[in-house]
């Protein structure tokens, strides 16, 4: 067993443990923090498998940007966990996962080519970038359009309608103080429930 193999198995254990903790937490904040560990492990695994540029992207985009975004949203929601670890919810899901895993493992070890040992190789960032913009420049442009469309959709969804009757009620309830977005939505919900 070479040093690379040892590193791979250590990273695999780290990724699996962190992901396992992440998916079983009730508090989303804890799940996100465990998931950051899992994504850092994934970045190191990409480095081991010869993709240094992708390793940097995973650390920056996944562990950096996306997880911080999820954390911000969790803090906006102020939702206390109401879930219970009932067997009726986790039982079927776990069964589904185990069945999927069994089928996947059976297919994996049935394949004669699966025992091939990977040879080490590194795609240098310069070569990778040249390859990407040489052959798949159209896909990169389409991706930028996709991100732009997502941005427009998010702005459109995030706009609150000002000509709403409920907003006036909220303003009257709060007097001169200007509540933040989260408070305002909670108050308007309380008002709604009060009317019912």
């Amino acid at each position: 067993m070479t040093l690379y193999a040892v590193i791979f198995y250590v990273l695999g254990v780290v990724i699996l443990t962190a992901t396992g903790f992440a998916v079983t937490r009730r508090q989303p904040v804890h799940a996100v923090l465990y998931l950051i560990v899992a994504f850092l492990g994934t970045g190191a695994l990409f480095l081991l498998l010869g993709a240094p540029l992708l390793a940097a992207f995973v650390v920056i985009v996944y562990a950096g940007a996306i997880m911080v975004l999820v954390l911000f949203v969790i803090m906006i929601l102020q939702q206390s966990p109401r879930e219970s670890g009932l067997l009726s919810e986790w039982g079927p899901a776990t069964l589904l996962g185990i069945v999927f895993l069994a089928v996947a493992v059976a297919m994996l070890f049935k394949d004669p080519g699966s025992g091939i040992v990977l040879k080490g190789a590194v795609a240098r960032p310069r070569d990778f970038g040249r390859f990407l913009f040489d052959r798949y420049w159209l896909a990169v442009e389409i991706l930028s359009v996709l991100l732009l469309v997502a941005l427009v959709a998010i702005i459109q969804l995030g706009k609150r309608r000002e000509a709403d009757g409920e907003d006036d009620t909220v303003r009257n309830l709060n007097g001169a103080s200007h509540p933040t977005a989260g408070q305002r939505s909670i108050i308007s919900n309380e008002v709604k429930e009060g009317h019912q």
Binding site: Y9, V61, Q79, L101, V149, G158
Partner: protein, 101 residues
């Protein structure tokens, strides 16, 4: 000489199954989105391993596309969750009963 390809695929498969369980079992929409992220991460691991196995850079290019799609998906999904929370005051999909008459 790193490890057999099947071991990397096994790691990706177990991670994907965990994401699937997280997606199905949780009753919090944020945790559901986290499950989707875990599944995309597993797919990325499998693509990088396949890229190394066949010594082709297409696999790594595809991982880059997965990253961008996943970023768009998670940001739009979280915005939808916030929008739903503003309307109903809950992130539990069982409590969305506005259409019930």
């Amino acid at each position: 000489m790193i490890v057999p390809l099947s071991h990397v695929f096994l790691l990706a498969g177990i991670t994907f199954a965990m994401g699937l369980v997280c997606l199905v079992a949780h009753r919090n929409l944020v945790m559901t989105l986290i499950g989707v992220e875990v599944m995309m991460n597993a797919a990325a691991i499998a693509f990088v391993a396949a890229s190394l196995r066949w010594q082709l850079m297409e696999g790594q290019a595809f991982v880059l596309f997965i990253l961008a799609v996943s970023a768009a998906e998670i940001s739009l999904g979280l915005m939808l969750v916030i929008s739903l929370y503003r309307r109903t005051g809950s992130v539990d999909p069982d409590r969305y009963d506005i259409l019930k008459w």
